[in-house]
């Protein structure tokens, strides 16, 4: 019998419905797996809570998700379970309330897994190396990063230490780790998923989204967490279609745009070949691909590192040692703030807060922040124009496969450029998915990114599912 932790959510739900197994069996299988492999992967943080909270399980709910456990990134508030953004400054923070997505999951009968997934501190990073708890290792090659910032969520799913997981994506933080770890990851349309209870990084870019073992699970989880929430003023009141109807395995006649700007120098040769083969596969399944231009692509990274850091500098002002988390000792209030933040934030957090504060400060606002907002308009207009002619756009998720731990930590600019293919999607607010589409000769996964019009996640599931069901990439498992 296959171990339960290796199955997809929809496979497990079938067995739960037939009463062949209980959710307790799944929970035990995950616990066993974590004890066996997490010392190598380090997908989870605060491991000591695993046994402590095991007995608090509620029993076999009747609702649709039937007690199926789900893993949550450490920046999504879970009542009674510590949520520290993998930062020293939030050490010990135990939320007194649930994020809206957690409420929705609980109402649907899901079991919130008591261990939280590792991440770059405050989601600042592309490798999960910026975690206060130390890096996560890629299950396919432990010397490599799992990507980031949702590296723990992606690695836990890839290593069968989780059935499925939630991450958050501000500039690629779900899709890039999904690509590096060989799993499916979705960044929903901005406004699709409530951000209430997601500890904010950049409020105009952040979205919560699923990481899963296949496209069906990804669509299932989206069905649960999508929808309007009055507690988030940027939540959009728009109907959520029945995504099971998108899993048609039929893409005949769909028009797919291939942006020339994404196939440039700096792209790994093996990745290029694998992506070209994937595009050929889509064509052979009846889609029609053609070149499209997104002329402002090269400005996406600089625009992002102004807007995201400016918003972060404002959002992270709340971490001052007064209401929660770490407080440094001092008799003077201003000095207490400065010491608390100096000691509590890691290097990347300091770098981004200072860069963002600079971009918003007197004398620099027009030259940096305002200009970045204008170029953001141009990037959005590129996509508006492209989607007049195309149903979706297909690109690599990342220019390279997973890189080595330590390879880019000394050069922040090099690290920022690893998000070059994912960032535009957040700036334009559109949805995009990453799915496994091949392996390098060294056995590292490569991800295919599919983008669609705002609120057309159904298109992403349709194309992704059709590709997946006609390939076997998603069935490979890392050897641990």
């Amino acid at each position: 019998m296959t171990e339960l932790n290796k199955l997809t959510a929809h496979e497990l739900l079938e067995r739960l419905k037939d009463k062949e197994i209980t959710s307790g069996d799944i929970y035990s299988a995950l616990q066993k797996r974590i004890k066996e492999v997490d010392s190598k992967v380090k997908a989870y943080v605060r491991l000591d809570t695993l046994n402590k909270l095991a007995n608090q399980r509620t029993n076999e709910p009747e609702n649709e998700l039937k007690g199926l456990p789900i893993t949550i990134k450490d920046n999504i508030c879970t009542q009674g379970i510590n949520t520290e953004c993998c930062s020293k400054i939030l050490q010990g923070f135990c939320p007194p309330y649930d994020a809206t997505v957690i409420n929705k999951l609980k109402n649907a009968g899901a079991e919130i897994f008591p261990l939280k997934a590792n991440m770059d501190e405050f989601a600042f990073g592309s490798s999960t190396e910026n975690s206060h708890f130390g890096p996560t290792h890629n299950p396919w090659d432990k010397a490599c990063v799992p990507g980031g910032s949702s590296g723990g969520s992606a690695a836990s799913v890839a290593a069968d230490e989780a059935i499925w997981a939630l991450g958050s994506d501000t500039g690629g933080s779900i899709r890039q780790p999904a690509s590096f770890c060989g799993v499916v990851g979705l960044k929903p349309t901005y406004g699709r998923v409530s951000r209430y209870g997601l500890i904010a990084f950049a409020s105009s870019l952040d979205q919560i989204g699923p990481l899963a073992k296949d496209v069906r699970d990804c669509s299932l989880l989206s069905q649960v967490i999508f929808g309007y929430d009055p507690n988030d003023s940027t939540s959009v009141n728009q109907d959520v279609p029945d995504f099971s109807k998108s899993l048609t395995k039929d893409i005949r006649g769909l028009k797919i745009g291939i942006p020339g700007e994404y196939f440039v120098d700096g792209m790994d040769a093996e990745v290029k070949t694998i992506i070209e083969e994937a595009i050929n596969k889509l064509n052979s399944l009846g889609a029609v691909s053609a070149k499209v231009s997104l002329p402002h692509t090269e400005y996406a990274v600089p625009v992002y590192y102004i807007i995201a850091t400016a918003e972060a500098s404002s959002n992270l002002a709340r971490f001052d040692g007064v209401q929660y988390g770490w407080r440094a000792k001092s008799d003077n209030l201003i000095e207490m703030y400065k010491k608390t933040r100096g000691e509590g934030f890691g290097d990347e957090a300091k770098r981004r807060i200072i860069l963002g504060t600079f971009a918003l400060s007197h004398g620099y606002y027009d030259a940096y922040y305002l200009r970045a907002l204008k170029v953001r308009t141009l990037i959005k207009q590129d996509f508006d124009a492209a989607f007049k002619d195309f149903d979706c756009i297909v690109t690599p998720t990342s220019p390279t496969p997973a890189f080595k731990i330590g390879e880019k930590t000394q050069d922040p600019l090099k690290m920022y450029l690893s998000d070059i293919y994912t960032i535009s999607v957040n700036l334009a607010g559109i949805p995009a998915i990453s799915i496994p589409c091949g392996f390098t000769k060294k056995g590292l996964p490569v991800g295919l990114q599919i983008m669609a019009k705002p609120f057309d996640e159904a298109m992403l599931f349709r194309v992704a599912h059709t590709f997946e069901q006609n390939t076997d990439w998603h069935k490979s498992k890392p050897k641990l």
């Binding site: 010990g92 923070f93 135990c94 007194p96 901005y190 406004g191 105009s204 009055p230 003023s233 940027t234 959009v236 090269e298 400005y299 990274v301 600089p302 625009v303 590192y305 102004i306 500098s313 002002a317 001052d320 040692g321 007064v322 209401q323 929660y324 988390g325 770490w326 407080r327 001092s330 008799d331 209030l333 207490m336 703030y337 400065k338 010491k339 933040r341 000691e343 934030f345 300091k350 770098r351 807060i353 200072i354 860069l355 504060t357 600079f358 400060s361 030259a367 940096y368 305002l370 200009r371 907002l373 204008k374 170029v375 953001r376 308009t377 141009l378 959005k380 922040p412 600019l413 607010g429």
Partner: protein
């Protein structure tokens, strides 16, 4: 645009972050490189472009003015590093 050590020191003060001397040194160099890269944006003509602070056609989202449950003082203070009665406690600010 160049950014020097004095500017970084001043901005860190605005951001209420205490930097150690070695951090200041390292950060100044890194921010200089990052801003050099970002300066790419100045080559674009944005005179006629409207800024997008976000991409949704929403503005002034209001809710009904109806009372609802909120966190009790006990709950709200649960995570406080220091408290006195129903208040967060901080170092004295008046001499």
């Amino acid at each position: 645009m160049a950014i020097d050590k004095e500017t970084v020191k001043y901005v860190a003060h605005l951001a209420r972050i205490e930097l150690q001397p070695d951090e200041l040194e390292k950060l100044s160099g890194q921010l200089h490189d990052i801003l050099g890269f970002i300066d790419k944006l100045s080559s674009l003509d944005t005179g006629q472009v409207n800024p997008s602070s976000h991409i949704l056609p929403l503005s002034n989202v209001l809710r009904e003015d109806k009372p609802a449950d909120s966190l009790s003082p006990d709950k709200a203070l649960e995570n406080a590093p220091a408290k006195k009665g129903n208040f967060f406690s901080v170092p004295r600010i008046l001499e």
